[in-house]
Symmetry: C2
Subunit: 705 residues, 2 copies
């Protein structure tokens, strides 16, 4: 299969700027000037009805006049001229276009129509579109700046895509000011054609990109995004800041699962399942990127902190402890080598404190010993500018000692005025440096998180026995045909049983005699519940009796339940009374699913009762969940210890819960008609005895095709 | 009462430097040079046995040669010379001394002896000591730089104290590099005499200080610190970064409370009760400080965000929502005024997006309208550098429109190269600015938190009826006399009953007949429990039976309990069996106390069962707790909703819990002998019915005097 993004987008041999302008204040001038000034080595063709020259280069008055082949078109003209120009440039060989112009979907209905037309036109012409309404595209490796940004960043190995053009300009400005190297800068604009998923896929195959960064406000095709993320993060780190994450908005939801699943829950689950590192702020995004861009991946987790002052060392150690990063043990060999070189007042713990009068030579000697120690994986060099301190010399010492050491190195030189030059030396020498130690430790933490992701999350295809899809199909079709939206316990149970869920033995009784007859066949005690499509909250109408052990109590409960329901909901049609064996010796769970508009089925897991309703102690994953996802879902809730042996109780059957989650995942994918699903409660029995669904509800709707 | 810190420390008229040196590499030279170069307007006397001149000023060969009065002494000589010099300078009128020299407690036992001698000497001489082993002291308002720092920061209204001298140098370097103004810089060193509490108290009375910052590793007198914090934060904001906070270490503890109360729990509780804002990192410390230093306190909480790009606006709004800061509603009047001045594509929600081509004039017009709106309390101005953007002009517009507007203003100009000058304009104009919007919003959040603290936390003195201190005194003395460390239920109950705790009716039975006789007097059902000082975990030895309602079952349970306990702990001395009315209809709580080495009694509150043991859902406060503290303790646990009406149950008696916490607070302060205390479980009854202690334990020890 061809890659989605043609090579001509990032590595064109020739570029045409439609709308190249002589007037410096025009965007069409800025784009043309960027291409020329960055020294793009291929052909640059300007097109403008007026013809003439721009920046001393001839400009063609029509597309047809362009003398050669065009790989990439950049459009800075009004929408109609773009729709007109795309097929004509396609005739010249154009495979990709950057549409910078605004005036599309973001302006309202007419713009949205134009955007659809843009997409249709480009599809017919077999041209892929970046934008519209974007800043453009930069590939420093190809000396290609097809944007109206105010400059070009240095060459580097970070690539960045952004749904906000303005954030692109801010980050470009920062990169130029701080001399941070980038490979590709991609402003996604309205994402009419190419999306973040396409860009991530392309960058994962790009040898010039080591780390992929993104700024995302929304994702349209969440399911594809999750699939692509899994593939990409198996090869390269992806760090994304997601904006708009608390603006979940009120979603109408009738299930527990739906009401607990804000839209950020789905993003958080998908990012996690996709192996994406989520940055909390834009600052965080670049803090984390620097480690990946400049340093080798850590071979292990053990960190050594070297400092010339106690305080910053403690702050770094605090952060490491909080993030679960182990501080390396100082081996007797290392201690011996260090003590021979350091003054007696130095502290040979970790942090290693070579004290306030340390000059560059002492740092160099300490680092030379540290670099030889195979039990250290990462090194953080701290410096506070004191009377005798040599910031530049120390920076050089750090670069010298740690380059090619195989260790993952970071630095934090505190202060400002007297460490400015030293910071430049560190950056130029490939050591990422941060103004405070905490940020350096967080960057290491991101690399350690990625270490566990790297190589990919195993996507075991769960093997689920005893699924009778046809049966479920029939039940759902029948409900849909009857115009039902909300399925009661009986109908939901039929569907769930077809997917292998076990319910306690049960029967439907229409008279008290029938109830007693059913009771005689059952293990005691039993539960009686009203069955009516018009009554959803059964306890509220006196419709439930538990712990019944004699025929007399069953008969009496039948009468009481039905008359109470009739009295309280006179309009209700009562199908009968369900009689069910009572499950004892298990622990209450809730399993559920709600459908996220971006990511599809979002599965929820929690312990029953107050854990869900009051403490909101629940976990989420996007379907399909793997066996590993399901295990993580169970273990990440705070109350997880309750499922293992607690206060002498038998451990619960975790495998049974995993199986249940996998079955809900499959069911949700097989039947897009199911909108929401609550299994509440489900009882998990002791290890080896599986789970028993007690009550369940579903809402369904005709699936959108 | 005299203030602890004499005025001569911060505002001396004359300073003597003992150890003033000619050699530029010596600390004694650096200190003298700083005094001279900063232009200290008072007398500067250098003392050095060699005499001669330093920096063109005469140096005296002995203290006695100093011709005038000395207010402040600065010591940069070895410890013996300091001990010798202090009384001699006191003769010259010295009231305060800065001891920069190291070689004291930090070097070991001999140094600790010298430090004690230093303290004794200075007390005799009535001289207060800053240090030893510190960087020194700076007061920019007095042009006093009595430190060996590499420079002097600009004048400002932030004062900073630090337990790490190196961190002082780093922050000085940053202040000089970033041109951030400071009033006082105080390096605490070993805190032999003056502590963070003394400094905070002094700075709270200092008209030159608007905001107090601190870096703290440990606090010696936690009880005084808490008292001083309450007084100081009622007048000025105090922001502290506490290092070493995860290094709680393993503390031997036999109670639930003790094992859950890591040392950081006590710091967190004390900071909160003292009204101190806790910064998470050093960067955070200064981010938060800038708002207080440069802007008026917000009059309300409503924030308006003004931006020229969507992305950063969303990031700012996200942070505001996460921190609970309300975005201001755009009133019809403001909307009208804005729409008249802005292009039609501008977005008049909040964030107000004046779009990418906004120049300085558009910002000025928008801000001029915003400044007039009384329903806006704080304004955040965002800028991303786009093609038409005028960063410097926009900065000037922001300063012009927001100065003296009564609104609390912040800015975040994203990027680097093209916003550098604009940032300087903002800072010079008194608007704190941050490289990313999230940090600006966090700074506002700190001001809003302080708004609630300002004016002081009411310290209601709880009025507790029915406390019989003498009875408790006798019980504790008896236990101590018997050499007991751990008190069982019977003894603990006596003490707690003397402090007003209600237990269910109970009796001690030594025969089954006695048990049945007691039972006849009681409300059923009852509970039987083994009573033995040698058996702490009663259930483990079959020593508890619940729900007994007949004389036969009581008699049988008596026999079973005692024989089971005898069989399982043959060595135990069995005092009898306790028979107790069973409490029903309540909710299980745990109330406890453990004694923190710094802060004294640390009270704990949690819901019983899994909430404490598995979910660690507990809250802490340092005694004495006020009524308000107790209410906060109860409400901050995650499971708090369970105490209000939940699933139709009656709301619990919150007032009863408050009363219980106040009584434990009082008991812990009255009896320093009580080391740990667990009331577990306590049942809280429905509203108006108080609490019932069911089981309790205590450990005691001779109080340290």
């Amino acid at each position: 299969m061809d890659p989605v993004i043609p090579d001509e987008l990032f590595h064109p041999k020739s570029v045409a700027v439609i709308g190249a302008s002589r007037k410096p204040e025009k965007v069409g001038h800025g784009v043309f000037a960027n291409l020329v000034r960055t020294g793009f080595p291929g052909e640059i063709y300007g097109v403008n009805p007026g013809g003439g020259e721009v920046l001393g280069r001839p400009v063609f008055s029509s597309i047809e006049e362009i003398p050669g082949k065009v790989d990439l078109g950049v459009f800075v003209v009004p929408p109609p001229a773009i729709l007109d120009g795309i097929p004509r440039l396609a005739e010249k060989g154009m495979k990709a276009a950057v549409v910078i112009s605004a005036g599309f979907k973001e302006t309202g209905r007419e713009g949205a129509r134009l955007e659809r037309a843009l997409l249709e036109t480009s599809r017919r012409a077999k041209v892929r579109i970046l934008g519209p309404n974007c800043l453009g595209l930069i590939n420093t490796n190809a000396r290609l700046n097809a944007s109206f940004a105010a400059g070009t960043p240095p060459v580097g190995s970070i690539s960045f895509f952004s749904q906000s053009g303005a954030l692109c300009t801010a980050i470009l400005d920062w990169a130029i000011g701080e001399n941070v190297g980038f490979s590709k800068f991609i402003s996604l604009g309205n994402k009419a054609d190419l999306s973040e998923s396409d860009v991530m896929e392309s960058l994962s195959n790009d040898p010039e990109t080591r780390v992929i960064l993104g700024y995302v406000e929304s994702i349209d095709d969440g399911i594809r995004f999750l699939r692509v993320s899994r593939e990409v993060t198996a090869r390269k780190p992806v760090i994304i800041v997601k904006a708009g994450y608390t603006a979940a908005g009120a979603r109408a939801a009738s299930s527990h699962t739906g009401s607990l699943a804000g839209s950020d829950r789905a993003y958080a689950a998908a990012f996690r399942q996709g192996g994406i590192l989520r940055a909390e702020t834009v600052q965080d995004l670049f803090d984390l990127a620097l480690g990946f861009a400049m340093q080798p991946m850590p071979r292990g987790e053990r960190l050594l902190i070297l400092t010339n002052a106690g305080g910053p060392g403690i702050l770094a150690a605090d952060t490491a402890e909080k993030l679960g990063i182990p501080l390396a043990e100082i081996s007797p060999e290392l201690r011996g080598r260090l003590s021979g070189k350091l003054p007696p007042t130095a502290s040979l713990g970790n942090p290693v404190d070579i004290i306030g009068d340390a000059q560059a030579d002492r740092y160099l000697e300490a680092l030379s010993a540290i670099r030889e120690d195979p039990a250290i994986d990462a090194v953080l060099v701290l410096l506070t500018p004191q009377a005798m301190t040599q910031p530049e010399g120390t920076a050089q010492a750090a670069v010298q000692a740690l380059a090619d050491s195989g260790k993952t190195a970071f630095a934090s030189f505190l202060g400002e005025a007297s460490v400015r030059e030293a910071r430049k030396i560190l950056s130029a020498g490939g050591i990422p440096q941060y103004p405070v130690p905490e940020r350096a430790v967080r960057a290491l933490h991101a690399m350690l998180r990625y270490r566990r992701i790297q190589g990919g999350v195993p996507q075991d295809a769960p093997d689920l026995a005893g699924i009778r899809r046809g049966e479920a199909r029939k039940a759902i079709d029948a409900a849909l045909a009857g115009g039902k939206k909300t399925l009661g316990e009986e109908e939901s149970r039929a569907i769930l049983e077809a997917y292998g869920f076990r319910f306690p033995r049960h029967a439907l009784a229409q008279t008290s005699q029938e109830a007693v007859r059913a009771f005689e066949e059952m293990r005691r005690p039993v539960v009686l519940k009203i069955v009516s499509p018009d009554i959803l909250h059964k306890t509220d109408v006196g419709g439930v009796r538990v712990g019944l052990s004699s025929p007399e109590s069953v008969a009496q409960a039948f009468v009481e339940i039905t008359s109470s329901a009739r009295r309280m909901v006179p309009s209700a049609w009562i199908a009968g009374v369900s009689i069910q064996e009572m499950v004892t010796g298990g622990r209450e769970l809730i399993l559920g699913m709600s459908r996220d508009p971006q990511f599809g089925p979002l599965l929820m897991f929690g312990l029953g009762g107050i854990n869900v309703e009051v403490l909101k102690d629940v976990s989420f994953r996007v379907a399909p969940v793997s066996r590993r996802d399901a295990v993580e879902m169970i273990r990440e809730i705070r109350a997880y210890p309750l499922l293992s042996s607690f206060r002498g109780s038998a451990p619960s059957d975790e495998g049974g819960i995993v199986d249940g989650l996998l079955r809900i995942s499959r069911l949700s994918l097989d039947f897009p008609e199911i909108q929401e699903l609550d299994l509440n409660p489900v009882m998990v029995m002791p290890k080896g005895s599986g789970i028993r669904a007690i009550d369940c509800r579903m809402t369904i709707a005709e699936a959108k095709t």
